[in-house]
């Protein structure tokens, strides 16, 4: 079952935003997220808002999906009328965006460009499953204006991929990364998952070596989260699978950071490493820096000028709202100054650039000094007026946040 949406107040049928939000729109940059809610099959650990063809039988189809998104883009253009903020980043996520014809992804991208204008040098990423792309498809994407591909590799160990229900062979992700580069993509990312039941330290080292060997300029590494309601959670509950404890996860993280750093990929966010400043995922940075973006598609989240909202989760509900000419928004939240302060700390502390100490309130500044004494924040950076996590601090980031926000 895909992750549940938060509670909130209803979104007006027109989708309109308060004038105060429009006035601030784009202050910290503006981006676009496009959710593609389709997968060929569901991986047992995944609780993202995505559906197989069988699950959607009789409802929204892959063929008609691009038009739905175009309808929402038209609505967003009306809502943001007068806002002058070119789109700096576009991110197609899923689900498996590459289950749609490349032409459809291109059509959506052009609609975004028509509506708001893509900024010069805009970053345009799509997620892709390794088995869902081939050289021709990748070339088509590149030609349509995509600049970056993010591949779900997860692991190089066959038995780990099997536990994760992944359909690709161990070598396929690395191969797809090569194909992407050959198709003209300068920026390619590989997603990895560690701490999967049955994964050994050697398996993880081999996955890291394979990812590094693929010559990509970006790697994301996530510790496996056992989400409630997933097939994986059921197997763990029944005792069929044993999840490694947090100490193991900590060791895996340290191994990842050591291997990636040695290969010239530096961390810029807790779970993300990049070969250069230019290789960092700008869309990802937009999220962590509190920027604005419009999220299209069922269950997509948006943030504009201190308003967060989220769309109806099920594709049919999403389509029905749009068919009525109404906003697909399901709920929203107008952030208070307090909420914005909390989010600012919570998000920015995860970045290597950290957070200016001056933006913390007095108790937070005091907590920062203690955290530095405990080796969780970098003392030198703190002396320069920035709160930046140390390696150990990254592993305890949530605890640091709780200390900084008493």
């Amino acid at each position: 079952m895909p992750g549940v949406l938060p509670d909130g107040e209803p979104v007006p049928a027109t989708g309109e935003l308060p004038a105060t939000a429009l006035a601030r729109a784009g202050e910290r940059g503006f981006g676009v997220y496009v959710h593609i809610p389709f997968c060929a099959s569901r991986c047992g650990y995944c609780d993202f808002n995505t559906y197989t063809a069988a699950e959607l039988a009789g409802g929204v189809t892959r063929e008609s999906y691009a038009d739905l998104v175009l309808a929402e883009i038209a609505l967003s253009k009306r809502v943001l009328d007068g806002v002058k903020a070119p789109v700096e980043t576009v991110f197609f996520g899923g689900g498996t965006p590459t289950l749609l014809p490349a032409a459809d992804l291109g059509r959506i991208l052009h609609a975004v460009d028509d509506a708001f204008g893509l900024a010069p040098g805009a970053e345009v990423t799509t997620e892709a499953n390794p088995e869902s792309v081939d050289p021709a498809y990748l070339r088509e994407l590149r030609a349509a204006g995509f600049t970056r591909v993010s591949l779900g590799m997860q692991s190089a160990a066959r038995h780990v991929l099997a536990i994760l229900d992944r359909k690709h062979t161990p070598g396929r992700a690395v191969e797809a990364a090569r194909e992407a580069r050959e198709a003209g993509f300068e920026h390619v990312n590989l997603d990895l998952i560690y701490s999967t039941p049955g994964e050994t330290a050697a398996d993880w080292d081999a996955s890291l070596t394979a990812a590094i060997g693929a010559g990509v300029d970006h790697v994301s590494a996530y510790s496996l989260i056992v989400e409630d309601g997933t097939r994986l959670a059921g197997r763990v509950r029944r005792g069929e699978l044993a999840v490694p404890d947090d100490d193991v996860a900590a060791d895996r993280y340290l191994a990842a950071d050591a291997a990636l750093s040695a290969a010239g990929l530096g961390w810029y966010e807790v779970s993300n490493w990049a070969a250069s400043e230019a290789a960092r995922c700008r869309h990802n940075l937009l999220y962590w820096r509190g920027g604005d973006w419009w999220g299209y598609g069922p269950g997509a989240h948006s943030h504009v000028g201190g308003v967060r909202w989220w769309n109806a989760r099920h594709p049919s509900a999403y389509a029905a709202r749009l068919a009525e000419g109404a906003s697909p928004g399901h709920g929203r939240e107008l952030l208070s100054a307090e909420d914005e302060y909390i989010e600012d700390v919570l998000l920015r502390i995860r970045l290597a650039e950290g957070l200016p100490v001056s933006s913390l309130r007095a108790p937070g500044r005091h907590a920062a000094t203690l955290a530095a004494a405990d080796g969780l924040l970098d003392s030198a950076a703190l002396a320069d007026g920035r709160a930046v996590l140390t390696l150990r601090g990254r592993l305890l980031a949530d605890a640091v946040v709780r200390d900084l926000l008493p």
């Binding site: 996520g93 947090d246 100490d247 999220y287």
Partner: protein, 620 residues
């Protein structure tokens, strides 16, 4: 009723009144039998009836036990015997069965001439059956033995009638048989109550005297005082006088409970009812006091009650130190309804400001704590309960220790600890294991008696400290649930005791100190240190735990530092979810107490209490 006026409160002929209470071992069905009485006498409409109608407090309903006695006035027209067709007024009091609330039972008994001694026909006589029977006998009450739950397939009324008859010295046929579930035999029981229990005797023309047997604070009505009139008459608008303090109050309302309060014009000889004076503090309307009228006062008060003495003490502290005044106010309010609750402010280096609170037992503690949290919205820590010690020092002075951390450090001549007389009833198959258990708890056997061929009564003297924690659970598990326990305080004995301290991260934590027998100290220290290691979550740094007697460390454990506490993934821009999660984590943190730099969960403070592993699973 043939003539309403004759039976109205204040003008009922005492000859037509019967006052009785229902007493029994816990869960033998008192409240359920009371339900059937409320129904058969039609004071509660069948549509409004619910199980254990008189258990009105949320806690009573959730736990399925009675905590407070409840008195109800019911009309009854006798159906059989010489008095068939005559109308009577019955005052029934449903009482609690748990040993912690024996005090409630003794108060109720003093308002009655008779008692229905109820015994579960599938269980037979249990320890509180004996205890409550003896209480009733001390009060010279007429006792009607009744076997309940005869509808149960496992009921053995023949067998237990024998047992019961043997116990109270009657014939097995004299034991009535009822089912509180089906209502069988309830009418006959009420007829027997009319026949056997004497009518109240009092002088209607003497100056009025009424005994206060309960006093309850009600937010809307102030103090409601429950009385049993012995002599004379009290009328609405009378000015009443409390004989112990000579304080005079105007009666704003007088009435009876049936089972809702019903205003009446007066209360006369033998009647049970309530008084409201607008007083806001129950201490001005003390249980055991005698009420008279100010214009024609009585000169001699009725016999009072002894205030119940706390058996165990525990420190109660707000997790958030700023809630200390709220805790004081909440205790003051609860005290209004609970004479057994006593408390003194105290402070702890680890926990800040709080109260040392005296309780009748662990159930009482649990209930008070739960009410403080639920009704007053407080987040509390309660420290491991302990008994009270008298310590004689070599310099000739002596100290009363209600908190282990106050244990004197000077040269000690003798330590006195409270002891109880315990009565244990067990099937004879388990006598051996029960004796073994009592032995291991420093008990001395005082006597043993066969109540029937297979049921044995064991009498022990035991240190109170040995039975307040898990003794009852152990007893139950060693006897497959068949044994029952009752106890009463009997004095003190001199014992070889020591104080065991706990050091967390190198600092002694006063709230963890305990006084234990010398021979058990080592095992206690090892167990507590281990339990604390499991209960205290891992922190950002390593935390050593030590148990020590004086400066000698007897046990050591280490809580390893936590290494990972970060969510790796951002959910497709769902920042709201991330913020909500943080708020939840912070709530969790608020429920922790900072001891130095260590976050300690509430459960850790009562860790010494638990012997099973279940608590340990609570740690995430």
């Amino acid at each position: 009723m043939d003539d309403a006026v004759t039976y109205a409160p204040g003008s009922t002929d005492p000859q037509r009144i019967r006052n009785f209470c229902i007493i029994a071992h816990i869960d033998h069905g008192k409240s359920t039998l009371a339900d059937r009485m409320l129904q058969i006498t039609e004071v509660v409409d069948s549509r409004l009836m619910r199980a254990q109608y008189l258990d009105r407090m949320d806690i009573e309903r959730e736990r399925g036990i009675t905590i407070k006695s409840q008195a109800v006035r019911m009309p009854w027209t006798a159906r059989s015997g010489e008095r068939a067709g005559d109308d009577f007024v019955l005052n029934m009091i449903d009482t609690p069965g748990h040993v912690d609330f024996t005090y409630e039972v003794s108060r109720s008994l003093a308002a009655c001439e008779g008692a229905v001694l109820l015994v579960d026909a599938a269980q037979g006589i249990e320890a509180q059956t004996l205890a409550n029977l003896y209480l009733a006998m001390e009060n010279d009450l007429t006792i009607i033995p009744v076997l309940n739950k005869i509808d149960l397939p496992a009921a053995q009324p023949e067998k237990y009638a024998e047992e019961l008859a043997h116990l109270i010295g009657c014939e097995p046929e004299d034991c009535l048989r009822v089912s509180g579930k089906t209502g069988v035999g309830v009418g006959e029981l009420l007829d027997e109550i009319v026949r056997q229990i004497p009518a109240p005797v009092g002088d209607p023309d003497a100056p009025a005297r009424a005994m206060i047997f309960d006093s309850v604070y009600d937010t809307y009505r102030g103090v409601v005082t429950y009385v049993r009139v012995v002599d004379g008459k009290m009328e609405a608008r009378d000015r009443i006088k409390m004989m112990s303090t000579n304080a005079v109050h105007e009666l704003l309302e007088i009435g009876v409970i049936s089972p809702e309060p019903i205003k009446s014009a007066a209360l006369g000889v033998g009647e049970v009812g309530y008084l409201i004076t607008g007083v806001k503090d129950v201490r001005q309307s003390k249980v055991g006091d005698t009420v008279t009228l100010s214009n024609r006062p009585a000169t001699e008060s009725l016999g009072g009650y002894q205030d119940p003495k706390p058996m165990v003490y525990s420190g109660l502290y707000p997790i958030d130190g700023s809630e200390y005044p709220d805790l004081r106010e909440a205790l003051d309010k609860l005290k209004l309804n609970d004479a057994a609750l006593t408390y003194e402010p105290e402070s702890s280096a680890a926990l800040g400001f709080g109260f040392r609170v005296g309780f009748l037992g662990l159930l009482h503690l649990e209930i008070i704590r739960e009410r403080l949290e639920r009704e007053f919205g407080l987040d509390l820590i309660s420290t491991a309960p302990n008994v009270v010690y008298n310590v004689d020092l070599e310099d000739g002075t002596s100290v009363v220790v209600t908190n282990p951390s106050e244990f004197p450090t000077g040269k000690i001549a003798a330590i006195h600890e409270p002891i109880v007389r315990a009565t244990i009833l067990t099937p004879n198959d388990f006598v051996g294991s029960v004796m073994e258990l009592c032995q291991s708890r420093r008990g001395s056997l005082m006597g043993m008696e066969y109540l029937s061929q297979e049921r044995v009564e064991l009498r022990y003297t035991l240190p109170l400290a040995e039975i307040i924690y898990d003794f009852f659970d152990q007893l139950k598990s060693k006897t497959r649930g068949y044994a029952s326990l009752d106890y009463e305080a009997t004095g003190t004995q001199i014992s070889d005791l020591v104080k065991v301290d706990i050091l967390l991260h190198g600092e002694p934590v006063d709230a963890f100190s305990a006084i234990v027998h010398k021979d058990a100290a080592y095992a206690y220290g090892v167990r507590l240190a281990e339990r604390l290691r499991k209960l205290i979550p891992r922190q950002q740094f390593e935390v050593p735990i030590q148990a020590a007697i004086g400066s000698r460390v007897i046990a050591r454990e280490t809580i390893r530092a936590i290494r990972k506490d970060v969510l790796a993934k951002c959910y497709g821009g769902d920042i709201t979810r991330k913020r909500k999660l943080l708020e939840k984590q912070k709530e969790g943190k608020k429920r922790m107490k900072m001891v130095g730099r260590v976050e300690v969960p509430q459960e850790a403070f009562v860790a010494a209490l638990s012997t099973d592993e279940s608590v340990e699973q609570k740690k995430k």
